[in-house]
C-alpha cells in the first residue's frame, strides 16, 4: 500500500511474483473516486477522472490513516488536499466522497478490494489472506487502521510488516546474521530512510527518518518549470496557464527523466506547443543529465543529510553499515545511486525493480509463514555442470550447473570409428570446455556393440541425480539393449573452495577454452566429412567418374594432412573445398539415380540415401 501506488505479489514455485491488475499494470494508483452519478472508480480509472472531479477523488489516504484529526501532519495535509476532511467523533479523520463521509481505512479498503478482485481474476482462485506493508514509522494506531482496511476489503491480514523489512526480505537479507542495513526509499511522494539490524531470527528497525513530502513528483515539477522558462526565453510566451500545453510538457518531462537514467542527453520535441497571432510555436531543446542533476541537486543533498541524521540517531557509524538497499522509482536516477555509494563507500543493492521490491518482500514473508505450516522442502542444486567426454576430448554437458535436483537427463551418442566394439563413458564435473580440464568422477565401458559404421550405433546415456545428491550414470546400446552403469556418491561433495576455484577457472580460461573447443569441433567435422565422402566413393564405385574419384581422393588427402596440423583455418578451408566437391558429385549421383528409375531397389536406396545425408553432416 503505497502513498501514490500499490502493488501485489504472490509466491509461486518458491519465487515471489508481481500480479498485474485488470488493466495489465504491475502497480495500481492508490486512488478511489465517486463519479457524478454515484459510480465508483478505483486505481487508474480514478486517476483519469481526477482533474474533472477533484473534490470526490481521494488519494494519499496513507497520510491520514490511523491519525488524529488534530495531528500536525493532518492539519498540514489538509491545506494541500483538494477533497474535504473533518474530525470524526472519535477524534480521527473523516473524508467526504460523494455525499458520504468515510474513514481513511474505508478508502484504503476500496483500493485493497480492487487488488483482491484483480488478483482473483488473474489467478482463478479466491484470495483470503494477505500481508500488508506499512512505513516503519507507523504507530500502533496507524497499523491497526491499515489492518482494518484489509479486513474491510474481505482479507484476513496475517501480518502487517514494515516496508524496509519487506525490502530486506526480498533481497534475502533475513538469512544473514548480525548485519546492519540501511533502506533508502525514494518514492513518488515520500522519502523514507530506515536503519535495520538483522539478528538471529529477527529484523529490528533501529531508526527511521525522512521527509513525508519529498518525492519523485517534486523532481517532475522542477523539470516542468524549467521547460516552461526555457520556452518563455525562446518565444516570450508563458504557457503555464495553458492546461493543454502544461500537460504536454508534463509528459515530456516524465519521459525525459526516465530516459536520462540510461542516456546522457535527450531531445525534447513538442511541435505546435502553442500559437499566437504570428503563427504556431514549436518547442525543441536538448535536455542533458547534467542539467537534470543541477535542477534537483538540493533534493538529493537533503536526502543524504537526512540519511546521515537517521544513522546518527542509532549510534552506529556509517562504516558500521553492511548493506544498503535502494527502494522507490526515483532511485533509478544515477546521481542518487552515486551519492548513496559515496556516502557509504559501497555499492547499494538495486537489482530488484525498486517499484516492486516491497510487494515482493511481503510475498516472501507470506511464503515463509506458509512454509512454517507446510514444512518447506529444501531442494539442492548441482554446484557444477556434469557431463561426459566426447570426440576430440570435448566436455559435453548433460546437466547444467545450478539445476535443481532431483533431475534426470538423457542424450543419444554414437561411435567415432567403424566397427567400434565399445564406448567409454568418462563422467566429469566442471565448467571448462575441454574434458581434461575438468574433474573426473568415474568411468566405465559399455562393450558388445555389434560391428557397424561410425555414427550408426545409438548409445543412450542418462544422468540421474536423486534427492540425496547421488549420481547414477547409465549407458545403453539401443541396438542390443545391453547396458552398463555407475553410481557416484557425493558428486557435490566438493569443498566450497574447490567449487569457487573451478568456476573462477572457467571464467578465466573462457576464451582459450572456446578456441580449443572450436578446434576440436572443426576437426570432428573434417574427420566426419572425409570419412563419409570416402564411403560415398566406395559405395558408388561404378557410378563415380574417374576424374571425380581422383578429385575427391586428393581433397580427402588434403583434409587429412590439414588435420595433422592444429591450424583451424587450414582445416576449415580444406573441409570446405572437400564439401563443395562432395556435394557436386553427390548431387550428380542423385540426379543419375532419378533418371534411371528402374534400378534394383536395394542399391538405389543405398546410393540415393547416403549422399542425401552428406551435406547435412558436412555443415
Amino acid at each position: 500500500m503505497g502513498t501514490t501506488n500499490s502493488a501485489m505479489a504472490i509466491v509461486e514455485v518458491g519465487q515471489p511474483r508481481i500480479i498485474e491488475n485488470k488493466e495489465g499494470m504491475r502497480t495500481t494508483p492508490s486512488i478511489a473516486a465517486m463519479g457524478k452519478s454515484g459510480e465508483r472508480y478505483v486505481g487508474i480509472t480514478a486517476k483519469r477522472q481526477a482533474v474533472t472531479n477533484p473534490a470526490n477523488t481521494i488519494f494519499s489516504t496513507k497520510r491520514l490513516v490511523g491519525r488524529r484529526f488534530k495531528d500536525e501532519e493532518v492539519q498540514k495535509d489538509k491545506k494541500l488536499l483538494p477533497y474535504e476532511i473533518r474530525e470524526a467523533k472519535n477524534g480521527g479523520v473523516e473524508i467526504k466522497m460523494g455525499e458520504q463521509w468515510y474513514k481513511p481505512e474505508e478508502i484504503s479498503a476500496m483500493v485493497l478490494q480492487k487488488l483482491k478482485f484483480d488478483a482473483e481474476d488473474r489467478l482463478g482462485e479466491k484470495i483470503t489472506e494477505a500481508i500488508i506493508t506499512v512505513p516503519a514509522y507507523f504507530d500502533d494506531s496507524q497499523r491497526k487502521a491499515t489492518k482494518d482496511a484489509g479486513e474491510i476489503a474481505g482479507l484476513i491480514v496475517k501480518r502487517v510488516i514494515n516496508e524496509p523489512t519487506a525490502a530486506a526480505l526480498a533481497y534475502g537479507l533475513n538469512k544473514k546474521k548480525d548485519e546492519k542495513v540501511v533502506v533508502y526509499d525514494f518514492g513518488g511522494g515520500t522519502f523514507d530512510i530506515s536503519v535495520l539490524e538483522i539478528g538471529d531470527d529477527t529484523i529490528e528497525v533501529k531508526a527511521t527518518g525522512g521527509d513525508t513530502h519529498l518525492g519523485g513528483d517534486d523532481f517532475d515539477q522542477r523539470i516542468i518549470n524549467y521547460l516552461i522558462n526555457e520556452f518563455k526565453k525562446d518565444y516570450g510566451v508563458d504557457v503555464s496557464r495553458d492546461q493543454l500545453a502544461v500537460q504536454r510538457l508534463k509528459d515530456a518531462a516524465e519521459k525525459a527523466k526516465h530516459e536520462l537514467s540510461s542516456t546522457l542527453q535527450t531531445e525534447i520535441n513538442i511541435p505546435f506547443l502553442t500559437a499566437d497571432a504570428s503563427g504556431p510555436k514549436h518547442f525543441s531543446t536538448t535536455f542533458t543529465r547534467a542539467k537534470l542533476e543541477e535542477l534537483v541537486k538540493d533534493f538529493i543533498g537533503h536526502s543524504i543529510e537526512l540519511t546521515k541524521k537517521t544513522i546518527d540517531e542509532t549510534g552506529f557509524k556509517i562504516s558500521d553499515i553492511n548493506e544498503v538497499l535502494l527502494v522507490g522509482g526515483q532511485t533509478r536516477m544515477p546521481l542518487i545511486v552515486e551519492e548513496v555509494k559515496k556516502l557509504f563507500g559501497k555499492e547499494p543493492h538495486k537489482d530488484i525493480n525498486p517499484d516492486e521490491v516491497v510487494a515482493l518482500g511481503a510475498a516472501v514473508q507470506g511464503g515463509i509463514m506458509q512454509g512454517e505450516i507446510r514444512d518447506v522442502l529444501l531442494l539442492d542444486v548441482t554446484p557444477l555442470s556434469l557431463g561426459i567426454e566426447t570426440l576430440g576430448q570435448v566436455f559435453t554437458r548433460m546437466i547444467e550447473k545450478n539445476t535443481t535436483v532431483p533431475v534426470s537427463k538423457t542424450q543419444i551418442f554414437s561411435t567415432a570409428a567403424d566397427n567400434q566394439p565399445s564406448v567409454e563413458i568418462h563422467v566429469l564435473q566442471g565448467e571448462r570446455a575441454m574434458a581434461h580440464d575438468n574433474k573426473t568422477l568415474g568411468r566405465f565401458i559399455l562393450d558388445g556393440i555389434p560391428p557397424a559404421p561410425r555414427g550408426v550405433p545409438q548409445v543412450e546415456v542418462s544422468f540421474d541425480i536423486d534427492a540425496n545428491g547421488i549420481l547414477h550414470v547409465k549407458a545403453k546400446d539401443k541396438g542390443t539393449e545391453k547396458e552398463q552403469s555407475i553410481r557416484i556418491e557425493g558428486s557435490s561433495g566438493l569443498s566450497d573452495e574447490e567449487k569457487k576455484k573451478m568456476t573462477a577457472d572457467a571464467e578465466k580460461y573462457a576464451t582459450e577454452d572456446a578456441k580449443k573447443k572450436e578446434l576440436a569441433e572443426t576437426r570432428n567435422l573434417a574427420e566426419t566429412l572425409a570419412y563419409s565422402t570416402e564411403k560415398m566413393v566406395k559405395d558408388n564405385e561404378a557410378k563415380v567418374k574417374d576424374d571425380d574419384k581422383k578429385e575427391l581422393n586428393d581433397k580427402i588427402e588434403k583434409v587429412r594432412s590439414a588435420l595433422k596440423s592444429d591450424d583451424p583455418e587450414e582445416i576449415k578451408k580444406q573441409t570446405e573445398e572437400l564439401s563443395k566437391s562432395a556435394q557436386r558429385v553427390g548431387g550428380e549421383l542423385y540426379k543419375e539415380a532419378q533418371n534411371k528409375q528402374p534400378e534394383p531397389a536395394a542399391s538405389a536406396q543405398e546410393s540415393s540415401g547416403e549422399p542425401k545425408e552428406e551435406p547435412k553432416d558436412a555443415k
Binding site: 509461486e12 472508480y41 483519469r48 481526477a50 474533472t52 492546461q243 500537460q247 504556431p280
Partner: protein
C-alpha cells in the same frame, strides 16, 4: 537398575508389537504425507506450466505494444499539425490535403492489422475506463485532445479529452 529391568521384562511381550504398530502407523502417515506433497508438487508444476504458456501467449500478443506507443507519439504531433493547417492550404489545396489524409489512413490501417483500434470519441460521454480528463469541466460531453487506442480490446493508451461545459 535391576528393578527397572524386571519391570521392563514384564512388558516385553506387548512392547515390540506396540512399537511396530506405532512405527507402521507413523510410516503410513509419512507415506501419505509424502505422496500428498508429491501430488501437490506435480500439480503445482503442471499449473505453473499452463500459466506460463498463458503468460507467454499474452506477452507475444502485446509484444509490440511499446513500439506502437512510441510511434503514436509521432502520430500525435502530426495530428496536432493537422489542427494548425493554414487557411490558405485548406482553401486552395484541397487535393493535397486529401493526400495527407490518405497517408494517415494508411497508418491507421496498419495499426488495425495489429489489433489496434482508435478509441471513438464522437457522441461519447466521458468514461474514465477509456478517457483521461485534462480539465475540470462540469459536463459529460467530450472533445479529443489526444487520440487513445485499444490493442486486442485492452486500453493501451486512454484518449485524452477535454470535458465540455454544459450547453
Amino acid at each position: 537398575m535391576s528393578d527397572k529391568t524386571n519391570e521392563n521384562n514384564k512388558n516385553i511381550e506387548i512392547e515390540p508389537l506396540q512399537q511396530a504398530q506405532d512405527q507402521l502407523e507413523k510410516a503410513n502417515q509419512q507415506a501419505k504425507e509424502y505422496l500428498d506433497s508429491w501430488k501437490r508438487e506435480r500439480a503445482d508444476f503442471i499449473n505453473y506450466k499452463k500459466e506460463e504458456a498463458k503468460r507467454v501467449g499474452e506477452f507475444i500478443k502485446f509484444a509490440n505494444e511499446g513500439i506502437f506507443l512510441e510511434m503514436m507519439e509521432v502520430l500525435d504531433n502530426v495530428e496536432i499539425a493537422k489542427k494548425h493547417i493554414p487557411e490558405k492550404i485548406i482553401e486552395d489545396h484541397e487535393e493535397w490535403l486529401e493526400g495527407l489524409e490518405k497517408a494517415l489512413a494508411g497508418f491507421e490501417e496498419l495499426l488495425s492489422r495489429y489489433g489496434i483500434e482508435k478509441i471513438p470519441i464522437k457522441d461519447q460521454k466521458f468514461n474514465p475506463v477509456l478517457h483521461e480528463a485534462v480539465n475540470g469541466g462540469e459536463g459529460e460531453d467530450i472533445e479529443e485532445v489526444r487520440a487513445g487506442y485499444t490493442m486486442h480490446g485492452k486500453v493501451i493508451r486512454p484518449a485524452r479529452v477535454k470535458i465540455l461545459s454544459k450547453n
